[in-house]
C-alpha cells in the first residue's frame, strides 16, 4: 500500500504557528465546530429563544478566523493541571513547613488579624467572582484555543480563592486566638471593598468574553490586584514576619503573567495591521480601557485605609498606585493601544 506509506501522519489541516505542529495545537485546534470552517450545515439545535451554539456578536471585536489564536504559554490540559498541581503542592508544603518552624505564629498581630485575616481573605471573594465571570466567558468564546485559555483562567481563580481559605484554616490551627471570620461581612458591607465588589459584579454581568479577558488581565489585575495584593501584601509581608503569604501570592502572579500574555496576544491578533477590522477593534479596546480603568483605580484607591493599617509601611498607596498605573500604561503603549501608543 504505497499511498498509505507516503501519507503524512499528522493533523495537516491545522496551520502550525511554528515550523511543526505542537502538541498543544494538535489537541486544541478545531475541537470547536464552526459553520465557517468545516461544519457547513450550521447548528442543528437552537435554544427556545432562537440563539445558536456560538454567536459572532458575543464580542465586539471582529476577526475572520478566531481559530488562529494561540495561547503563547502553549498549555493544554495535561500541562495546565501539572503546573497547578505543582503550585498547590508548593503552597501546601511551604505553609506546613512554616507552621512547624513556628513562623506562622510570629506574624505581627495587626498584620495577621487585619491584613491577612481580613484584607487577603476578602480578596478570595473577588477571585471567586472572577471564576464565575471566566466560566461563562469560556462558554461563549469563538474558538477552542480562546475557550481553553478562558477556562484555565476560571480554574486559576477558583484555585486562588480556595487556597486562601485553606491557608487561613492552617493559620487558625497554628496561631492561638486567630479566627477566620467576618470576611464576608467586609466583602458585602465594608466601604473599603465596595468599589472592588462593584467591579467584579460589573464583570460578572458583562456579556462580551473578550472584554472580560481584556478588563481583568490588562486593566484590573495590573492596577487593582497589583496594588491590593502584590504591593500591599506580597511586598510588605517579610517586614511583618510573614515570608509565607508572599510565596502563595507568587503562584498567583505566575498565573497573572500567563493570562496577561495570552490577552496581549489576543490584542495583537485583533489589531494586526493587515486585518480590515483592526481600526474598529482598536476603538473597541479603547472604549474598554476607558470603561474599566476608572473602576479599577477606584477599587485600588479604596484600599487606602488598609494601607494605613500596615505597621511597617514602606510606601504610600499613592506611590504604589502611580507605579502600577505607569506599568499598566506601558503594557498598553507597547500594544499600540495606550495614550502614547503608535496605533
Amino acid at each position: 500500500m504505497n499511498e498509505i506509506a507516503q501519507t503524512p501522519r499528522d493533523f495537516n489541516y491545522i496551520k502550525p504557528r511554528k515550523r511543526r505542529l505542537s502538541e498543544y495545537e494538535a489537541v486544541s485546534c478545531y475541537t470547536q465546530p464552526d459553520p465557517n470552517v468545516f461544519d457547513r450545515q450550521g447548528w442543528y439545535l437552537l435554544s427556545a429563544e432562537g440563539r445558536a451554539a456560538w454567536r459572532p456578536e458575543s464580542t465586539r471585536l471582529q476577526h475572520p478566523h478566531w481559530f488562529d489564536f494561540r495561547d503563547p504559554s502553549g498549555l493544554w490540559q495535561r500541562y495546565y493541571v501539572k503546573l497547578q498541581a505543582e503550585q498547590e503542592r508548593s503552597i501546601e508544603r511551604n505553609v506546613e513547613d512554616a507552621g512547624i518552624a513556628g513562623i506562622l505564629s510570629e506574624f505581627h498581630p495587626v498584620w495577621l488579624n487585619e491584613i491577612i485575616g481580613i484584607h487577603y481573605r476578602v480578596w478570595s471573594f473577588f477571585e471567586y467572582g472572577l471564576f464565575r465571570a471566566f466560566s461563562r466567558a469560556q462558554r461563549e468564546a469563538l474558538s477552542d484555543t480562546l475557550g481553553n485559555a478562558l477556562c484555565f483562567e476560571a480554574v486559576d481563580r477558583i484555585r486562588h480563592a480556595q487556597s486562601t481559605v485553606l491557608y487561613l484554616m492552617e493559620l487558625e490551627a497554628r496561631v492561638e486566638g486567630f479566627k477566620d471570620h467576618a470576611s464576608k461581612d467586609h466583602w458585602l458591607g465594608d466601604p473599603v471593598y465596595q468599589p472592588l465588589r462593584r467591579l467584579v459584579e460589573t464583570l460578572m454581568a458583562t456579556d462580551d468574553w473578550a472584554e472580560i479577558a481584556f478588563a481583568v488581565n490588562l486593566v484590573i489585575d495590573p492596577i487593582a490586584t497589583e496594588v491590593g495584593v502584590s504591593r500591599l501584601i506580597r511586598h510588605h509581608g517579610p517586614a511583618h514576619g510573614d515570608p509565607t503569604t508572599p510565596m502563595i501570592i507568587l503562584t498567583t502572579e505566575r498565573d497573572r503573567r500567563r493570562n496577561q500574555a495570552w490577552t496581549e496576544e489576543l490584542v495583537r491578533m485583533t489589531t494586526a495591521p493587515d486585518l480590515p477590522a483592526a481600526e474598529n477593534n482598536r476603538m473597541v479596546i479603547r472604549s474598554w480601557i476607558e470603561r474599566w480603568t476608572p473602576l479599577a483605580s477606584a477599587a485600588a484607591i479604596a484600599f487606602a485605609p488598609v494601607y494605613n493599617r500596615v505597621p511597617s509601611r514602606s510606601r504610600s498607596i499613592d506611590e504604589d498606585l502611580a507605579v502600577a498605573c505607569g506599568t499598566q500604561a506601558k503594557i498598553l503603549d507597547d500594544l499600540g493601544i495606550g495614550r502614547n501608543g503608535n496605533g
Binding site: A53, R136, R159
Partner: protein, 501 residues
C-alpha cells in the same frame, strides 16, 4: 491536619447576591433550584488537581512508553482500528459540548454545592477533549493506516454519522441549562458512558488495541463524578414539585435525543467492527441501560414524580435492530465516510444469527450483495443496493430507516412550505412542540442534492494523500483500492429523496 468537612463548608460560602449590577439572565431556565442541596463533589481544587495529574501521568506515560515501543496500535485488528476513526471525532465533540454545558450551569444554577461539582466537571471535559484528540493523533502516527485519523476533525463536519452525533450533543448546551444537564449528565453520562468507556474497551483489547482502553478507562474514572452531578441536579429539580411537568417533558426529549444517535451508532461500532468476537451490544444494553440505568436508577425516582421516559418502551423494542440497520447504511454508503470497512464473513454472520435470532432473514441478503460490490473492477457501488439515499431526520439527523428498513417509522410532513423527514414519532413530536429550534441549519441535501458522488468526495476532502485513492474503502484489500476514477465511472448522483416524492 486539615479539617476537610470544615474546608468544604468554607469554600462553598463564596456566593453572594450581587447588589450593584443586575445580572443578565443569559441562559433562561424554567426550573426553580433550591439554594442548598446535597454535595456531589467532596474534593477541593487542590485535591482534584493532584488526583488528575496522577491519572494523566499514568495514561500519557503508558502511551508514550510501553505502548508506543510495543507498537500496540499497528498490531491491532484493522477492522477495529478503522472504526476508531469515526468514533474519536464524534466523542470529542461530546466532551467539548459538555465543557460548554458546565459553563452554563455554573453561571445559572445558584447553588454552591452543585457549582462545586460543575467546576471540576468543566476542567474534566477539557481533559477528555484533549485526551481524545491526543489519541486520534497518536493513531495517526502509529496505526497501520493513518488516513482518516489524521483528518477526522476536519471531515466530521459533513459526515453522515458525525453530523448526527453533533446534533445529539448540541443538546448538552443548547437550551435550558437543566435540559442540558439532563441530556449530558443524567442520560449520556449515567446511561451510556459505562457501555462506551468501560465495556467497549473489552472489545478494543480483544482486538489488539491496548491504547484505547488506557484512555477510555481514565476518562471513565471522571465520569462517576459527573453521574453524581447528574443525580444531585436531578434531586434538586425534583425537590420542588412545580418543576415536575417541565422536567418530564425535558427528560423524555433528552432520553430520545441521546438514544436516537447513541444506540444505533454504538451498536454498529460494537457489533460490526470486532474481529475477535466477544459480547454483542444488545447484551450490554440490557445490562447497562435496562437493568442498571432504568431499573436501579430511573424507576426508583418514581416516588419523587419522575417517570421512565415516554419513549423508553419504543426504544427497548427498537434496540435489537438499530445497529444492524445503521451498519447497513454506513457500509452501503461507504464512499461518503472516512474510514475503511471490512465486510461481514460467513463466520460473522453465524455470530449475528446466534446473537440476534432472525438477523439473517433481514440482513443476510444485503451482505451477500455487498461482498460482490467491494471490488472496483466489478464497477458497481454498494449504494446501488438502495433505491435512494435515506431521508435525514430534521431533528436527530439520523437516516430515517429505523428500526429496520422494512418497518421503518420514517414519516414526512410539510412545514412552512418545505418537506421534512422524521425518523420516528418521538422526533416528529419534538419538532411539533418547538419547530423553530430545528430550522436553523442548511440540510445535507440542500447542500449536496444533485452532486455527482465523485465531486462530493473531492470537495469534502475524502481522498488520500495521492489525490486519487479514496480514504474510505468497502473492504480492507490493499491491492485494489477504489480511486476517484472508479467512482466517476460508476456514475452516482446524490439525490434528495424528498425531492420527487
Amino acid at each position: 491536619m486539615r479539617n476537610l468537612t470544615e474546608a468544604h463548608n468554607r469554600v462553598k460560602d463564596f456566593d453572594w447576591e450581587p447588589s450593584y449590577v443586575e445580572k443578565p439572565n443569559w441562559y433562561p431556565t424554567k426550573y426553580k433550584i433550591p439554594a442548598k442541596t446535597k454535595d456531589p463533589f467532596r474534593h477541593l481544587v487542590r485535591d482534584y488537581l493532584s488526583m488528575e495529574e496522577e491519572k494523566d501521568n499514568r495514561q500519557y506515560g503508558s502511551m508514550e512508553d510501553a505502548l508506543a515501543r510495543g507498537q500496540a496500535s499497528s498490531r491491532a485488528e484493522p477492522r477495529w482500528m478503522e472504526i476508531m476513526k469515526a468514533v474519536l471525532p464524534i466523542l470529542n465533540f461530546g466532551e467539548y459540548a459538555a465543557m460548554k454545558s458546565t459553563g452554563q450551569l455554573i453561571e445559572t444554577i445558584a447553588n454552591a454545592e452543585l457549582r462545586q461539582g460543575y467546576l471540576a466537571q468543566m476542567l474534566d471535559e477539557v481533559r477528555h477533549t484533549h485526551q481524545e484528540a491526543y489519541l486520534a493523533r497518536y493513531f495517526a502516527k502509529h496505526a497501520a493506516d493513518p488516513e482518516g485519523f489524521a483528518q477526522g476533525f476536519k471531515l466530521r463536519g459533513t459526515n453522515l454519522f458525525n453530523r448526527a452525533g453533533r446534533a445529539a450533543f448540541e443538546a448538552f448546551f443548547m437550551g435550558d441549562p437543566i435540559e442540558g444537564a439532563l441530556n449530558l449528565q443524567v442520560v449520556a453520562e449515567t446511561a451510556y458512558t459505562n457501555p462506551i468507556f468501560v465495556a467497549l474497551t473489552e472489545i478494543a483489547a480483544s482486538n489488539g488495541d491496548q491504547v484505547t482502553p488506557s484512555v477510555f478507562l481514565s476518562i471513565q474514572s471522571d465520569e462517576s463524578r459527573h453521574m453524581a452531578n447528574g443525580y444531585s441536579t436531578l434531586a434538586a429539580v425534583v425537590s420542588n414539585p412545580d418543576n415536575l411537568p417541565a422536567l418530564q417533558l425535558d427528560f423524555d426529549r433528552a432520553f430520545w435525543r441521546q438514544h436516537a444517535f447513541i444506540d444505533p451508532f454504538v451498536a454498529a461500532v460494537w457489533d460490526y467492527f470486532q474481529t475477535n468476537r466477544t459480547t454483542c451490544y444488545h447484551e450490554k444494553w440490557r445490562e447497562w441501560i435496562d437493568v442498571d440505568w432504568i431499573g436501579s436508577y430511573i424507576e426508583r425516582l418514581a416516588p419523587f414524580g419522575l417517570k421512565v421516559p415516554s419513549g423508553y418502551a419504543a426504544a427497548r423494542e427498537r434496540v435489537p435492530w438499530l445497529g444492524h440497520t445503521a451498519a447497513m447504511v454506513a457500509f452501503g454508503a461507504w464512499p461518503l465516510q472516512f474510514w475503511r470497512f471490512d465486510p461481514m464473513t460467513a463466520k460473522d454472520m453465524d455470530w449475528f444469527e446466534r446473537k440476534y435470532p432472525g438477523w439473517h432473514g433481514y440482513y443476510g441478503k444485503f451482505w451477500d450483495e455487498y461482498q460482490r460490490r467491494c471490488d472496483p473492477r466489478n464497477g458497481e457501488l454498494s449504494l446501488s443496493l438502495f433505491a435512494n439515499l435515506p431521508p435525514l431526520c430534521r431533528v436527530c439527523q439520523m437516516p430515517c430507516v429505523f428500526p429496520r428498513i422494512d418497518i421503518s417509522t420514517c414519516r414526512i410532513k410539510e412545514f412552512a412550505g418545505k418537506r421534512h423527514a422524521f425518523c420516528s414519532a418521538s422526533c416528529e413530536l419534538f419538532f411539533d412542540q418547538e419547530p423553530q429550534r430545528y430550522l436553523g441549519y442548511t440540510s445535507f441535501y440542500e447542500l449536496f442534492d444533485g452532486y455527482d458522488l465523485a465531486d462530493f468526495i473531492v470537495e469534502n476532502g475524502l481522498l488520500r494523500a495521492d489525490g486519487k485513492t479514496l480514504i474510505a474503502q468497502p473492504w480492507l484489500n490493499e491491492e485494489r483500492m477504489w480511486t476517484i476514477d472508479d467512482i466517476r465511472a460508476a456514475r452516482y448522483e446524490i439525490r434528495d429523496p424528498l425531492r420527487n416524492q
